[in-house]
Amino acid sequence: MSLIDLSHEFDSSVLSRVLAKGRSTGAGFSEVFIEDKRSMGASLDDGLVEQVSSGRDSGAGIRVINGETTGFAYTADLSEAGLLAAAGAAAAAASTGDGGTHTVSLGSAKRHPVNTVRIAPQSVPKARKVELLMIANDAARGIDSSIVQVSAGYSDATRRILIANSDGVFATDEQVRTIFRVSAVANGDAGMQTGYDSLGHTIGFELFEEENINELAERAARQAVTKLRARPAPSGALQVVIKCGSGGVLFHEACGHGLEADLVARGASVYANRVGDQVASPLVTLVDDGTMSREWGAIGIDDEGHESQRNVLIEDGVLTDYMWDHIRANKEGRAPSGNGRRQSYEHLPMVRMTNTFVLNGSDEPDDIVRATEYGVYVAKLGGGQVNTASGDFVFGMTEAYLIENGQITEPLRESNLIGNGPQVLADIDMLGNDFAMGNPGMCGKDGQGVPVGDGQPTLRVKSLTIGGTAA
């Protein structure tokens, strides 16, 4: 099976007719989003490659915007009749009466060339992908006899999208993602502990020429083994140092979501009406950058057909801009920022992050630890969650250590950290010069997941609440 070449398969006269049908009940805007996605995955557990799976998902979502109302319908039927039926349903959903006839001439949008794929995943025999799992299994188990269980997963996806809309946008992109995950369980006197690591980029199978699966598996296993001697995490507010490349999720939760224009427009963000204000420590410059080559949130175009961009959101602590999609940008009479994304053709686009990160400061990472009398050093953060309206957020630490007298000492058991976004941004008092991107992430919002990246240099927050059990 091969992927459809979308720009050849759908000629502009068909798309124009579908867009016109979308506006037939009076809507000012219509859009066709066509997606053809192939995916392949294999998983290993308990020493066995348990399942090899593959899938194909293709279809179209038709969006019609009429004043404040959006009508949306999707279909897996990509024939002209199928597209017209969906457009009719979307138009009816957003109906205000007869809109007459509309003609559209489709231009061609720019696409940021981020995804240079050397070895297309489909060109690689599946058996080679499966072999990687056994390599990871052996490497993780080789670390220590306390490793009692290992699981590993490989998956790749190639997603071709086409967007045409009644403003004349016509754009296509091919987005390739390849990811590998390892988790390990170690068993000791005080019970079991877990370790996890992953590797993912918007490239093809060359990922495994450039990166070492053995090292990834060993890191996951070592994390589990180290935690066997972990003591309960402290309880209460402490200084927290977050290692470079492990804590971008802090910014994703502490302010990223709050800078999404849809939440801002609803007054559901603590950062609403704050452009130009000092919202963070002057050390902080925060960027969302969909053009960042190879990174997990990189896209050539967003899912509304707009070229991806590098957007500075906070500069030297001052809020400079929000992230935008078509609807919100249109309302404000400004250009979108390349942040209109959706999980699949079955979903409406919303404002979403891409790769979100904090630029380097000037501190040496070792000095940051040395300057910390008593606190927590977080080497790996897990997921997080934020309430954008109140600014309260949590995130988990999956690998952390105590800092005593400026030295990293004992490993700590897992716990959540909790903070308030604006407060934490103001409380960043040291920022390293060792910027690194973190693990590939999946960001959920309103029931939709999209791939995102994050990154930061080593930094210190002067007070965060650690949710452990030790006094």
Binding site: L48, S54, T75
Partner: protein, 445 residues
């Protein structure tokens, strides 16, 4: 699913299974669904999604190797391609001596009413009105409250299933809900609340109650402070207990046990919880939101007592994990793995207010944040963000937020002091009920 023959889908599933070659096991799942999703904002229809989708998924097992594939269309070209892919994938995995589909075990299906004709015929314009009415109910409940969004959703699925082991079934199900989320503002501070209305069809929705509940949650948190760190007794609201039970259920998963990932492996017959705890997974209880007739391998869903009076009785199994453990499937295949379907705790006799009246100092936990990041069901570490209300001298006092509660799953089960009588059949895989747990660490200022 309600027993209802979906002939065209069953024909596809049967046709796929009929292609099996000697020594080959095939399982085919064919589904068609449609959904409506409506969002209202400030009295206007913000979006209306109306869509249909379908899908085929096929699993092939041959010589101990498993392969699977799926596609989003039902035509013959698509399903033949899916079968070919699954077969190819089944040449690539490891040989697993326990791999195999479920064999029919003779357990009778307990029929459930999973289809509602009133919902199926419900007028579209009225669905939009429901979302608007819910918005008005929430915003009208308190002058400090404004809307975030108000939603109506429904969905209907028809599904057919067939395997080479002779299991065949088809059915249909539909469901609907309305939900609202609001913000409350006071003195530069904003807090949020949400609630939903459930019913077999929209006529059963109590929109007024849901609107007030959402508003109360948001206004109740206004002025909340960050509490000091200390060890304390917590009362979990029914929703929080249901989330907690979901995690406990995952530790009683037979696949985790055979793979050495369960906290409770080797503890059958031992007291793992307070004697107050009797935990049952019962998808045959029609009151459960996730009541079901069959598991994902097509075996009858059934009642399983997991913990009785604090003593661990059993683990839940699919046919695969059961084969490995030397036992029988408990009808708990979920997706490609194993899971609980509809958990419930045996309730106590007191209302939540009565439970609180017994507590000198403690915290009522009304919501938790970050269960996915702060709870590790393998190590047992439990740490979650929370908000709620302080309890002093048997009464609720000031609201608190931006703190965590922490313990371990093992200790929390043993530290249960009381269970309420306020069972709430929530739209989750566990029913809620108030529960009191001692000696939890609260971390705040």
């Amino acid at each position: 699913m309600s027993r209802h023959t979906v002939d065209d889908l069953q024909a596809i599933a049967d046709a796929i299974v009929a292609m099996a070659e000697p020594g080959e096991q095939i399982e085919a799942n064919v589904a068609r669904s449609r959904e409506t999703d409506i969002r209202v904002y400030n009295g206007d229809l913000e979006h209306f999604v109306s869509a249909q989708s379908q899908g085929i998924s096929v699993r092939v097992i041959k010589d101990g190797r498993t392969g699977s594939s799926h596609a989003g269309t039902l035509d013959e070209v698509a399903w033949r391609e899916v079968l070919a892919e699954a077969r190819e994938n089944a040449t690539l995995g490891s040989v697993d001596e326990w791999a195999g589909l479920a064999e029919p075990d003779g357990v009778a299906i307990v029929e459930q009413e999973l289809w509602d004709d009133t919902l199926d015929a419900f007028d579209t314009a009225k669905k939009i009105e429901i979302a608007k009415e819910l918005e008005r109910a929430a915003v009208g409940a308190d002058p400090r409250v404004r809307i975030d969004d108000s939603n109506y959703s429904d969905g209907a699925t028809e599904e057919a299933f067939a395997t080479t082991m002779g299991i065949r079934s088809s059915g249909r199900s539909n469901s609907c809900y309305a939900s609202v989320s609001v913000m409350a503002d006071d003195d530069g501070e904003t807090q949020t609340g949400w609630a939903y209305a459930l019913g077999k069809n929209p006529a059963e929705f109590d929109l007024g109650k849901a609107g007030i509940e959402a508003a109360n949650k948001a206004t109740g948190l206004l002025g909340a402070v960050k509490p000091p760190s200390k060890r304390t007794t917590v009362v979990l609201d029914p929703m929080v207990t249901a989330q907690f039970l979901g995690i406990i259920g995952s530790t009683l998963n037979g696949e985790s046990v055979v793979k050495g990932r369960s906290l409770f492996a080797n503890r059958l017959g031992e007291a793992v919880a307070s004697p107050l705890i009797t935990l049952v997974d019962d998808p045959t209880d029609s009151r459960a939101y996730t009541a079901s007739e069959i598991d994902s391998e097509g075996l009858a869903a059934r009642r399983n007592v997991l913990i009785k009076d604090g003593v661990l009785q059993m683990f839940v199994h699919s046919s695969y994990s059961a084969r490995r453990a030397g036992t029988k499937s408990t009808g708990n295949a979920v997706g490609g793995g194993v899971g609980c379907l509809a958990l419930q705790l045996t309730p106590g006799t007191k209302t939540q207010a009565e439970l609180i009246a017994d507590i000198e100092e403690g915290v009522l936990i009304q919501s938790v944040q970050g269960l996915h990041s702060g709870v590790n069901p393998i190590s047992g570490d439990f740490s979650t963000g929370a908000s709620g209300v302080m309890i002093r001298n048997g009464k609720v006092a000031e609201p608190i937020r931006e703190f965590t509660i922490a313990s371990t799953l093992q200790r929390m089960l043993l530290d249960v002091l009381a269970i309420g009588n306020d069972v709430d059949w929530l739209p989750m895989r566990a029913a809620g009920v108030s529960m009191v747990i001692a000696d939890v660490t609260m971390s705040g200022a």
